[in-house]
Amino acid sequence: MVLLKMKFNQQRRVRLAQGLWLLSWLAVMCGAFIFCLGVYLKTELLRRDEVMENTEIHVVPNILMMVGLASIGTNWVATRVCQDSLDASRFPRWKVLLLAWFVVAALLCCLLLAVVVLSYVLQGRLEESLKVGLRNGIRFYKDTDVPGRCFQKETIDRLQMEFRCCGNNNFKDWFEVQWVSGRFLDYTAQEVKDRIRSNVDGRYLLDGVPFSCCNPASPRPCLQYHLTDNRAHFNYDYLSEDLNLYSRGCRQALTDYYMGLMNSTGPGVLSVILIQISVMLSLRYLQTAVEGAMALEDPEGDSEGYILEKGVKETFEEVKVKVLTMMKLAQVDPEGVPVDAEAEKAADTTAEKAASPTPAS
């Protein structure tokens, strides 16, 4: 039972080849688009590399880039096949390659689908990575004289200003670390001595935040220090003040940003998958129709195109048998005799046995 049979006269075959040629070039453009999308996503992730602890999320743009490049090549091959399809002398050389082409194209579609799924699944891993990266960034904020960490302050400041966020979960994260370097603390002052003695590790902890947490939308000049002390500022209430600093945490802000970026690429990737599938189906029809036409006495007569020669189940069985036979051929019997040789021997013996009873009787 042939799957999805369609009749193709010469006119229709020509139209199919021309349409498929255009569609394949469109698919090449889509491949380039996917590659560019991957590159863009990768650059965006690399820009904030310093606040990410691991690079697991990079698998999404890496796959996009690989698939984009492979898709350009694959669809370019499809255009060549279309060009040769109506020429009976040049089409046969593509015969062997076409099976491999279909496998590769199906693989690309699966990979693209996997990318869409991964971009949702990896959200948790991204958040974890940002949590650890930001925690380190805040801890090393003061180490502007330590090689390897001297740019943390600038990185965190610019991040907080650009993404309009403060701290890891919220601004209170700054209360728990010493973010003022010891080089700028007057250890002879009473205030400094008190603060250092007030905790076990001898850190100078403040209820204050860096200037990059300040919200320009506040009607009031920014209050950075003594945030929990209502009496330190005129007309100030710590619990009801919400415009003074950014209320969002940077982890939330960055996760939202990257998820938004990956979600907006979702529809584009899905439409590219659809285009690739339609190229595959059209090429299959073209291949079977042209092969059918070449087998006829009149090459310009009507032929049939189909997707699968037999039904889905039968094709699957056939493929399974082929694969197993190939595996058996490769397998060597423990006694050192190849299995097919034994089968041959058995066939000979049965033939001999069939021949021998005659003399006995």
Partner: protein, 348 residues
């Protein structure tokens, strides 16, 4: 005296027409580019419109947009004309169109050059506009409760953060205005009373700057207040500290930014001007070469093409005469009326 005469055999005429057709389509794209550049410049100027006192500088992007649109039309007609040029039957219909066409095209091409010159000439006007605008912005920084001025604080803060600048000329501009609103000052405290009494106008002046002046590159947490007091901060010297806050003034930063933008756009527009000029010159040569062929049986003869039939001065007078006559005719008409009115009373 003919200007720039050149011989044109048939083959050369054909090549000229084909080359001109391509060139005019390139020039059409260039015209669209000019329009886009004008739009770009205008949006950039509008983004910072709140810190500009007047809109004089907008004449540059407006001119670019007009010239871009006009250039699309000019080059479209140029391509149509050179398509018809080699067809002896269709070329004559353009005859009457070409004189005003060249006049208009020359006008817009010169306007293109003028816009580039203006973008350099108007630097002073831009600077004074920014000076006044920024001065107002800094003065009204504290008025977040006054309608019409409530966004000044946010604008100035974002401007200082984006352009990495502080104040008008430099950060000391903030010392001269009260930028903290009275709503947040405790007038019962001694410090506030002292400061308010210390100047004639009763303003609360501090030697401090807003947080948006802070430089993220500083190795030290930002020091905003008591900037002139060395003893207020540990290990601090007011005169040698240069990384704490931005030292550049916002006026200089903005002028630098806009001049850079206009220089880049000016370079592009200059090359488009050269392209447009070459299109017009080639079209003129093609027109004059084809006019000599008109009426002859053998269209493949060699003809001469030139730029101007008479000298430069004579041609200018020729173009200006209709315009002057139009005005003179008005005056002439009035004189005639006056005569007619005078005459009847003169006759007894």
């Amino acid at each position: 005296m003919v200007v720039m005469k050149m011989k044109f055999p048939f083959q050369k005429r054909v090549k000229l027409a084909q080359g001109l057709w391509l060139l005019s389509w390139c020039a059409t794209v260039a015209g669209a580019t000019t329009f886009t550049l004008g739009c770009l410049l205008k949006t950039e100027l509008l983004r910072r419109a709140e810190v500009m006192d007047n809109a004089d500088i907008h004449i540059v992007p407006n001119t670019l947009m007009i010239v871009g649109l006009a250039s699309l039309g000019i080059n479209y007609f140029a391509s149509k004309i050179c398509q018809d040029a080699l067809d002896a039957g269709r070329f004559p219909r353009w005859k009457n169109f070409l004189k005003p066409y060249f006049a208009v095209s020359c006008f817009f091409t010169v306007l293109m050059l003028l816009s580039v010159i203006m973008s350099y000439a108007m630097k002073g006007s831009l600077e004074s506009s920014l000076k006044a605008g920024l001065r107002n912005g800094i003065r009204f920084y504290k008025d977040t409760d006054t309608p019409g001025r409530c966004f000044q604080k946010q604008n100035i803060d974002r401007l200082q953060m984006d352009f990495e600048c502080c104040g008008n000329n430099d950060f000391r501009d903030w010392f001269e205005v009260q930028w903290i609103s009275n709503r947040y000052l405790d007038f019962s405290s001694k410090e506030v009373k002292d400061r308010v009494k210390s100047n004639v106008d009763g303003r609360y002046l501090v030697d401090g700057v807003p947080f948006s002046c802070c430089n993220p590159r500083s190795p030290r947490p930002c020091m905003q207040y008591q900037l002139t007091n060395n003893s207020a901060h540990y290990n601090y010297d007011y005169l040698t500290e240069e990384l704490n806050i931005y030292l550049r003034g916002c006026r200089e930063a903005l002028v630098h930014y806009y001049m850079g933008l206009m220089n880049t756009i000016g370079a592009g527009v200059l090359s488009i001007f050269i392209l447009q000029g070459s299109v017009l010159v080639s079209l003129r040569f093609l027109q004059t070469a084809m006019e000599a062929v008109a009426g002859k049986e053998n269209t493949e003869i060699e003809t001469e093409g030139y730029l101007l039939e008479k000298g430069v001065k004579d041609t200018i007078m020729e173009y200006l005469d209709p315009v002057l006559k139009f005005f003179l005719l008005k005056n002439g008409g009035k004189v005639e009326e006056g005569d007619a009115a005078e005459k009847p009373p003169a006759v007894p």
